[in-house]
């Protein structure tokens, strides 16, 4: 799949309500897919999915894209969940790879979605 990240209204509203709010978590820790892709992958909306790229992996909630994506394209709102699997490679431009990244998406029924504090712990645990 090609993974793109971007602004969503829900994520923006959640962000200004507080980065640690339930609203932000619900709207940012999500991956939107075409309904046919969801079927092929054996995933129902609201089930957990694992997104894996060359950078790493993250578990988020799956959703049917309300703003239609093409088959083979996955959309995640901006935020630390998307950034957990996006690359820092700038190709000498200063801009990391936030869009069009190759990703594998698999069902993750038994895995938990980390909240923001747990994600931060992942970022810092090897440092402190």
């Amino acid at each position: 799949m090609k993974l793109i990240s971007g602004r969503s209204l829900g994520q923006a509203r959640g962000k200004v309500s507080g980065k640690f709010s339930e609203d932000y978590f619900r709207n940012a820790a999500v991956c939107e897919l075409d309904p046919e892709d969801l079927k092929v992958l054996g995933i129902s909306p609201n089930e957990n999915v694992k997104i894996t790229t060359d950078t790493g992996s993250v578990v988020v909630r799956a959703a049917t894209a309300s703003q239609r994506v093409q088959r083979g394209v996955a959309f995640m709102p901006y935020g630390p969940w998307a950034n957990a699997v996006l690359s820092s490679e700038t190709y000498g431009t200063g801009m990391p790879s936030f869009k069009g990244v190759e990703a594998e998406i698999t069902p993750a029924h038994t895995e938990k979605i980390l909240n923001l504090r747990s994600l931060i712990e992942q970022i810092t645990k090897s440092q402190r």
Binding site: Q70, S88, I120
Partner: protein, 434 residues
Amino acid sequence: MTDTIVRNVVCTFCGATCDDLEVTVENGKVRQVRSGCSTSLNKFLNYNRERHLTPLIRKNGEYEEATYEEAVRRSAEILAKARYPILYGWSSTSCEAIRVGVELTEWVGGVMDNTTTVCHGPTMLGVHDIGEVSSSLGEVRQRADLVIYWGSNPVHSHPHHVTRYTAMSKGRFHDGRKGRTLIVVDVRKTDTAKLADHFIQIAPNSDYELLCALRVAARGDELEQEEIAGVSAEKIEELADLMVSCEFGVIFFGVGLTMSLGRHRNIDAALSLVRDLNSRTKFLIMPMRGWYNVDGADQVLAWTTGYPYAVDLSHGYPRYNPGDTTVIDILQRGDCDAALVVASDPISNFPLETAKRLAQIPVITIDPHPSATSIVSEIAFPSTIVGIETGGVIYRMDGVALMLKPVVPPPPGIRSDVEVLSDILAQVKKLKGS
């Protein structure tokens, strides 16, 4: 209790900075907001949630409350001692704060970068190469009969952009949608695309190809392929005809162009297309700037150092080399040894590997609200909220300066970004002077 109604308040969320909000204040708190989009309402009504009201300093791995003076002293020590600090953020604060930030960066010999670096940095590079035909949003509102959003979804990112300034706005020569054509080019059928007369669904990472094909078609040359970037040659020719035959066209482009494969080369192609079109008709192009004062951050840096972002002052004079002096590249190389983050949350907004590197160095944050970045910081200052509790100057996405006015008082004892930065700067001067 008596309510106070404050009119013509500027919204400090996105780069459209709508200046028609009506805010009702009761007992020093925002009670109601009118005219705002849903994001704006959430911002103004929830501004006081999740505040931290005391400076925090990390001691033995744990945050402890500290006096303001101690936090200023420790921050100045970290920055003055650092060999190559980065001073980052700036797009959600006032130009006055950014100006102090430039002086502080000069004193500590660091790099000042703003969030342009992860949104429209490639746009800057494209503009350096090609130039930009632009105007104020007022001109667009009055005159544009063809509006194109490319890689931008303003219904979500700039919710009132379409109604205030473009396809659905009431202008002198065009009243709302009547007489205006709206085209959306995107990889998704976005909510903005649902409003469009023409929606072009492009394959991911192929904007450059489509822009080049449009340049060919706009020149009147024949396209040799049947399909380019997932779009039929027939559709591309139809689009080119619409562009050439309009009276006043405009492309608003988003990070769909700057973040996709090609980066600044996509911008080169878009700017070149608009340059070509101006030999046939009147055509403009404008980036959809994200944060409310990201343009101001570029403006202040440009008028003080000559460069809009990624300015390295470590040599005592400004150096600018995006890809080298940009904050992602500096962090990835592991070059910096301290960071000051103002009004931004790079731990959330940067890719994981870069966030991890930032978490390895001492970070000082100045932010009204706790964030992933403030949580990993050595020192976290609370501050007032610009545009709600503090005034200042900001720049709208089209480069129009707007004056903000505070609508409610800040919590007692909380200082503005300008005050905190000025106090750190004064302390740095003492340390460096001695």
